[in-house]
């Protein structure tokens, strides 16, 4: 290099150029990862259907029409009608919306709480004992049982379902973050930061946290998928989203009694659940390969 003295302005320009290059490189690397692209595609398609689908139909999710009970799929009712004559297509889409909302909120909230718990318990030994015993306790309960009992106490509303699932799935994230943070914490560059006089907050959030992000994203996408399944189960059992409001779980429940005569009430919501969960899981595996190239490929493991 001939020119060794650069002005801050030139440096800034160089930094921007580098960032741009890096971004395009990252996008290309992501596109090369077929698994992640498929998962993302599936998820995006389902989101689009859920949020744009209701616009192209006249039906209302709660409108009861006893004359059109249990009609098979037709031009009028694309996915048929249920035992109250409500249009399944609209109900499934609204249910999907509710599921996505719950999945997203749970993934977000439990990530925020789980990361905080994980990082601080990895950093402070006494806190670790306390917090990890609590998470052990929470994980010892079957998720569904814990969720049912919490909702039985506080009542079945969407917020309560979200809060319950956050309680149930936060330990999963806290564990993963903690185990990653424990490794990073012992690295010499963290000790070097101590030697520089860095504050604990700075070390935890600026240096340990970024090193746990990749596994956090993978775990969060898993929590997203699992909480959608759990919500469907809760609704199926009647303790999820309360009855007249559509949810994938309670549409399945309504369809259960007529499963031999009206297959459309089971097949369509079921297919959507499979679609969301499959998309999320594939995306999660793909992201893991993308963010953490050192571990074995998810595909070759199977």
């Amino acid at each position: 290099m001939t020119d060794t003295t650069q002005t801050p302005k030139e440096l800034k320009a160089a930094e921007n150029r580098l960032k741009r290059e890096q971004r395009s490189l990252m996008i290309r690397r992501f596109m090369a990862n077929r698994l992640a692209v498929c998962g993302l595609g599936l998820t995006v398609v389902i989101c689009l259907i859920a949020f744009l689908g209701p616009l192209i139909t006249q039906h209302e999710p709660l409108k009861v029409n006893p004359i059109d009970r249990l009609k098979p799929p037709s031009r009028e009712h694309w996915m048929g009608t249920d035992n109250f004559g409500r249009d399944i297509y609209v109900r499934v889409l609204y249910g999907t919306r509710a599921s996505l909302l719950i999945g997203f909120s749970v993934a977000l909230l439990s990530s925020v709480i789980g990361v905080t718990i994980g990082l601080y318990s990895a950093y402070f030994k006494p806190l670790d004992h306390l917090l990890m015993r609590i998470t052990d306790g929470l994980m010892a309960f079957p998720a569904i049982l814990l969720a049912i009992s919490v909702i039985a106490v506080f009542g079945p509303t969407t917020q309560n379902v979200i809060l319950t699932l956050v309680v149930v799935y936060t330990p999963l994230i806290a564990r993963v973050v903690r185990s990653n943070a424990l490794v990073v914490k012992e690295q010499p560059y963290i000790e070097a930061l101590h030697a520089l006089g860095s504050s604990t907050t700075r070390i935890i959030w600026r240096h340990i946290f970024p090193n746990t992000v990749s596994s956090l994203i993978v775990q969060a996408s898993f929590v997203f998928a699992v909480s959608i399944i759990t919500e469907a189960m809760l609704s199926f059992l009647g303790v999820g989203i309360p009855a007249p409001h559509p949810s994938l779980g309670n549409i399945l429940y309504d369809g259960k009694n007529v499963i031999t005569s009206a297959w459309w009430m089971t097949v369509f919501p079921g297919a959507i659940i499979i679609g969301i969960v499959l998309g999320q899981n594939i995306l999660g595996d793909g992201l893991r390969d993308f963010l953490d190239p050192h571990t074995n490929k998810a595909v070759s493991k199977r």
């Binding site: 290099m1 060794t4 580098l18 070097a192 520089l196 006089g197």
Partner: protein, 337 residues
């Protein structure tokens, strides 16, 4: 009390030491069982020495003798069990962590492993600016300017500003580590095996750089190494550690010309001969280093010492001045005081 040699006497005997360590102890508890009392690994067991301004004090000893632990303890990366460390006549072991933050600017460290002592997810520029940001030095632009200056000082260039640590060789990374320590304009730099992970030709480059920087920034080094050649090359004075104790302190020439302590003699006789015609007596030590969990009574070296006497097994030798700048803790030199 202390069974260590003190290095209070220095080339300029009148000057105040910049850093004075007295009787530093670092004991790590080992849990043996629920009801048994904890055992202690006595990693550093009463070490005292002085570091003068502008001086390089080399610390040699074999693996596990506590030299790195001593370095870390001085910077309070590990809280000391006992002892005092005076920096400009202020005991930095008695300050609160918050107050000690001010001293961190003046007492810096360069770590052993060039590969893991830099955050792999950050660019070199950010790593170097981090130190100044922590202490709130300058504006962002000033910090950037200074980092580029520092990169040039340590023999890198401004184009390295945006690189990630993995894009550098070991020697270059060690230069970055040095630059990070320098960014706070320290007075004392503890170099913990700074060159031992590098190959020989790179070692020489980095050592020469460190010598140059010492002059430029008027630094004092506490240079920790197990490599006698490296320590001889860079140090003004050398302390020899064995099993958590400082057994001998002397100027570099004195130590290599006329080692006094039997352990130092054995160490130096183990160096390869540079002249094959010179006959050299090799002193072979037998046995292993005793466990620091249960160090021997009396002199810590008596289990392996070829000259061990009765007194060595019972009485801890006090550090004695052999000549002006030469001190050793050995009963053999009892009469010569």
């Amino acid at each position: 009390m202390s069974q260590a040699a003190t290095g209070e006497v220095s080339p300029q005997a009148t000057a105040e030491p910049l850093l004075r360590a007295t009787d530093i102890r670092q004991h790590f508890p080992v849990r043996r069982g629920f009801f048994k009392p904890n055992a202690y690994v006595k990693a550093v067991n009463g070490v005292s020495f002085d570091l003068m301004e502008g001086e390089t004090f080399g610390l040699v000893g074999e693996s596990g003798c506590g030299k790195s632990t001593l370095g870390r303890t001085l910077l309070r990366l590990i809280e000391p069990t006992d002892g005092a460390c005076y920096y400009r006549n202020k005991n930095i072991f008695e300050t609160s962590q918050a107050e000690f933050g001010k001293y961190r600017r003046e007492l810096q460290m360069v770590f052993q492993d060039p590969y893991s002592s830099l955050n792999p997810k950050m660019r070199v520029g950010s790593i170097l600016e981090e130190a100044m940001a922590i202490h709130g030095i300058g504006s962002r632009r000033e910090r950037t300017d200074r980092v580029i200056d520092l990169l040039e000082t340590v023999g890198l260039s401004s184009e390295h500003y945006f690189r990630f640590p993995h894009e550098f060789s070991g020697g270059q990374r060690q230069r970055i580590n040095l630059a990070r320590a320098l960014s706070l304009t320290p007075k004392v730099v503890v170099c913990d095996e700074t060159v031992s992970a590098l190959d020989v030709s790179i070692q020489a480059q980095v050592l020469n750089l460190m010598k140059r920087i010492r002059k430029e920034f008027n630094l004092s080094y506490l240079f920790i190494s197990h490599d006698l050649g490296v320590v001889k090359y860079i140090s003004d004075r050398i302390g020899v550690m064995y099993l958590g104790n400082l057994v001998e302190v002397a100027t570099a020439e004195e130590l290599f010309e006329a080692p006094k302590h039997p352990y130092t003699q054995a160490l130096i006789s183990a160096l390869p001969k540079t002249n094959p015609r010179v006959e050299k007596q090799r002193i072979k030590l037998t046995g292993e280093v005793p466990s620091p969990l249960d160090p021997p009574s009396g002199c810590c070296f008596h289990t392996r010492c070829p000259h061990a006497m009765d007194i060595c097994r019972k009485v801890v030798p006090e550090p004695r001045t052999i000549s002006g700048t030469h001190k050793t803790a050995c009963h053999l030199y009892e009469e010569s005081v």
